[in-house]
């Protein structure tokens, strides 16, 4: 049984169509990540499920019950916002206990203490329980905000970029923690982000959104290796996929309908210059900290690939390229399924 299902949802704000004909089912215990740029409709989708917005069309069901007309409090969802909002006059402990003390979820104080302690340890804020919420750093406040959702056990957790305000180390830690918690507790999570690493590492399935539409839904490997179109291909991969006109790859015999070729690092082999293969120049090698990118010039096109640590390249080097099983896209940007390449 699907824990959450959206059927034919539409939502407009004035002339802006924020969500268009969106259907999506999230299974019990599944971690689904909606990925897309600002304005794609991700947050609106979350708010529609939470009941913070009413859809113009379509229906929302949670645990098989149509909740389209219900108020947020009746829906059994927990929402974690991007901008944390805590009660400044309460301690961390009381902030975490708050959802458990509300009249709708009244709970025994001893049980509350156990839940709060458990969640605080999970999020590494156990030593701060006595602090006032205002005496915390930004990162700590965000962990309390996440913790306030985790103390409850709703049908579904809705999370709107909950990690984006944290430092990279903490973000990576909490990413793993969230995934572990979700797996262990079997919780259902719908998570919104534009960070592809969060999507790739946490999601059971990723939904790629653009301009209010769900373009593709699939496992991370599906989305990365078999993108439906050039837009989806460009959302995943670091460095981003290189999209060049098909005629730039002379001698590669692309399918006749191909207009654009998509080249990722794994499709490009770099050799020392020879006569039989297309030649390119290294424009520069960019050091980004966690990755080094090689910028190549092939005729008038520029290509960016991930540097192979074993291959020392420097600006001005002449190299030969070989392309292996790149992705091909037709005039409308849809990927062409070629033989010898998984459909």
């Amino acid at each position: 049984m699907a824990d959450v299902s959206l059927a034919g949802i539409g939502k407009c704000f004035g002339p802006v169509e924020a969500v268009r004909d969106l259907s999506l089912s999230i299974a019990d215990g599944e971690f689904v990540v909606l990925l897309g740029p600002t304005g794609a409709g991700k947050t609106t989708t979350l708010r529609l499920i939470a009941g913070l917005e009413r859809p113009d069309r379509g229906s929302v069901a949670i645990r098989g019950r149509d909740v389209t007309a219900e108020v947020p409090a009746d829906r059994d969802v927990a929402f974690v916002f991007q901008q944390y909002s805590l009660y400044p006059h309460l301690s961390v402990y009381d902030n975490l206990a708050f959802p458990l003390r509300s009249p709708a979820h009244r709970m025994d104080e001893a049980l509350i203490r156990r839940r709060v302690q458990q969640v605080a340890e999970l999020l590494h804020i156990a030593q701060k329980l006595g602090n006032r919420a205002t005496a915390l750093s930004g990162g700590e406040m965000q962990r309390v905000a996440i913790g306030r959702a985790l103390v409850r056990e709703p049908a579904v957790y809705l999370m709107d970029e909950p990690l984006s305000s944290l430092d990279a180390k903490l973000r990576a830690e909490l990413r793993l923690e969230l995934k572990r918690i979700q797996r262990e507790l079997g919780t259902t999570i719908l998570y919104v982000t534009h960070d592809q690493i969060e999507a790739m590492t946490m999601a059971d399935r990723i939904g790629v959104m653009s301009e209010g539409e769900l373009i593709q839904l699939g496992t991370p490997r599906d989305i990365y290796e078999r993108p439906q179109n050039a837009y989806v291909a460009s959302r995943l991969g670091m460095p981003a996929i290189n999209l060049v006109p098909a005629e730039a790859l002379a001698g590669q015999s692309p399918p006749p309908e191909a207009r654009t070729v998509g080249l990722r690092t794994e499709h490009i082999r770099i050799f020392s210059a020879d006569h039989s293969r297309p030649r390119a120049w290294v424009s520069w090698v960019e050091h980004l900290g966690d990755q080094n990118h090689v910028h190549l010039r092939l005729d008038t096109h520029s290509l960016v690939t991930l540097a192979d640590p074993a291959q020392e390249l420097k600006a001005g080097d002449q190299v030969s390229l070989e392309f292996r099983e790149p992705l091909y896209f037709d005039q409308r940007g849809n990927r062409i399924v070629t033989q010898g390449w998984p459909a």
Binding site: P37, T38, Q82, S137, G138, G139, E140, E161, S164, S165, L166, D167, A168, K169, L170, A172, H194, D195, Q196, I197, M200, T201, P220, R221, Y224, L236, G237, M238, R264, T265, E266, H287, L288, G289, D290, Q291, N292, L306, P309, A310
Partner: protein
């Protein structure tokens, strides 16, 4: 333009020491980033430079002049806050001109300064707009504009992009650095985001618990971390450590780990028996059957082009960044080959890097 120098600056709040003796010099027209986790003292340091806090001891020099005791208004420094506050009832032009009107400058001069600043920030087409209807990025540009109009000697920025959504942050990074280059002002920028620091800084100071752990170019900080804290804070995923108990002699180039010889940069000091940690970044780890250093695969995170594979050895966990095409089975035993010229060796007790051919200059990658 200005040079900013901090000498043994300390700040205590009651019994709590927020900043414990910080020294650094920010050169004329350079972009200096203070990077560290929340609570490391970076904002307090910045507030002392701005004159919003008085140091408990130490000196702050602006172009050689001691400004330690001068109030903020007398320092000719502009401060851009994390949560930029614009006046909602004023339009962009009035918001940007506000600091100049407070100084009672002639109208014509204000007009010229505001329009120049707006052009620099490419928001000249928005001057007559109300700030309420602007996008987050444009609001941030207006806030920057309000700092720029005064043409101060230096800009201090406290996570100015923290309130923006992260996709937009990337874009603004490039824009801020470009703006810095155009106006040639000295900038000090505070962040906990290593990507922002790497993308913008001429030099980075990494802070932890009130102290500066290391100052250097982004590449130095990444390739030759001076402490285990820096090694662990920078990089995604961060450096992995293999722990050994041994003694070291000047000239050593081999470290025995779990009975396997591992080649490393030449050690330049003698050390008595103790605990040490060999640090390796994920991209400098490869699998090699022939290697005697063995471990068991406990997990793989698929990232598309690459995957991060975590391997446990008797001496610690190692993360490797490998092509996704390499098939890796959880549970299998693999040999690990570490790239010898990129390894860092630390004293595990103090966390400090040992002097070695890597630390002595090594090679730029």
């Amino acid at each position: 333009m200005a040079e900013i120098r901090l000498e043994q600056v300390v700040k205590s709040f009651g019994t709590f020491s927020a900043v414990k003796g910080v020294d650094f010099t920010v050169d004329h027209a350079s972009f200096f980033v203070i990077l560290g986790p929340s609570g490391c003292g970076k904002t307090t340091t910045l507030r002392m430079i701005a004159g919003l806090e008085l140091p408990t001891c130490g000196r702050i020099l602006l172009d050689g002049d001691d400004v330690t005791a001068l109030p903020a208004s007398a320092r000719d420094i502009a401060f851009v806050f994390q949560l930029f506050a614009l006046y909602p009832h004023m339009n962009v032009r009035q918001n940007m001109g506000f600091p100049l009107r407070c100084q009672n400058l002639p109208r014509a001069e204000i007009k010229t300064s505001v329009e120049e600043a707006a052009k620099l920030l490419r928001i000249d087409h928005l001057l007559e707009r109300r700030v309420g209807g602007l996008s987050g990025g444009d609001r941030q540009r207006v806030a920057l504009g309000r700092a720029i109009v005064r043409r101060p000697k230096a800009f201090l920025m406290d996570e100015p992009l923290g309130a923006l959504d992260a996709e937009f942050r990337r874009l603004m990074c490039g824009e801020l650095r470009e703006l810095h280059d155009r106006i040639e002002a000295t900038s000090i920028y505070i962040t906990h985001d290593q990507l922002e620091a790497m993308a913008m800084a001429d030099r980075i100071a990494v802070m932890n618990q009130g102290r500066v752990e290391q100052i250097g170019t982004p590449q130095e900080i990444y390739d030759r971390p001076r402490t285990m804290f820096v090694a662990d804070f920078i990089g995604a995923p961060p450096m992995s450590f293999l722990h050994v108990h041994t003694s070291l002699r000047r000239g050593d180039r081999i470290l025995m780990i779990d009975g396997a010889p591992v080649e490393m940069p030449e050690v330049f000091e003698d050390r008595l028996e103790g605990k040490f940690a060999l640090g390796v970044r994920p991209e400098n780890v490869a699998f090699a059957d022939s290697s005697q250093l063995r471990g068991q695969v406990i997990g793989a995170e698929y990232l598309g082009t690459t995957q991060i594979v975590t391997v446990t050895t008797a001496s610690g966990q190692v993360r490797a960044r490998l092509p996704s095409g390499n098939l890796v089975q959880v549970g299998e035993t693999v040999g690990l080959k570490l790239r010898s010229d990129r390894l860092s060796l630390f004293d595990a007790a103090s966390g400090d890097a040992l002097s070695s051919s890597l630390q002595a200059g090594g090679r730029h990658g």
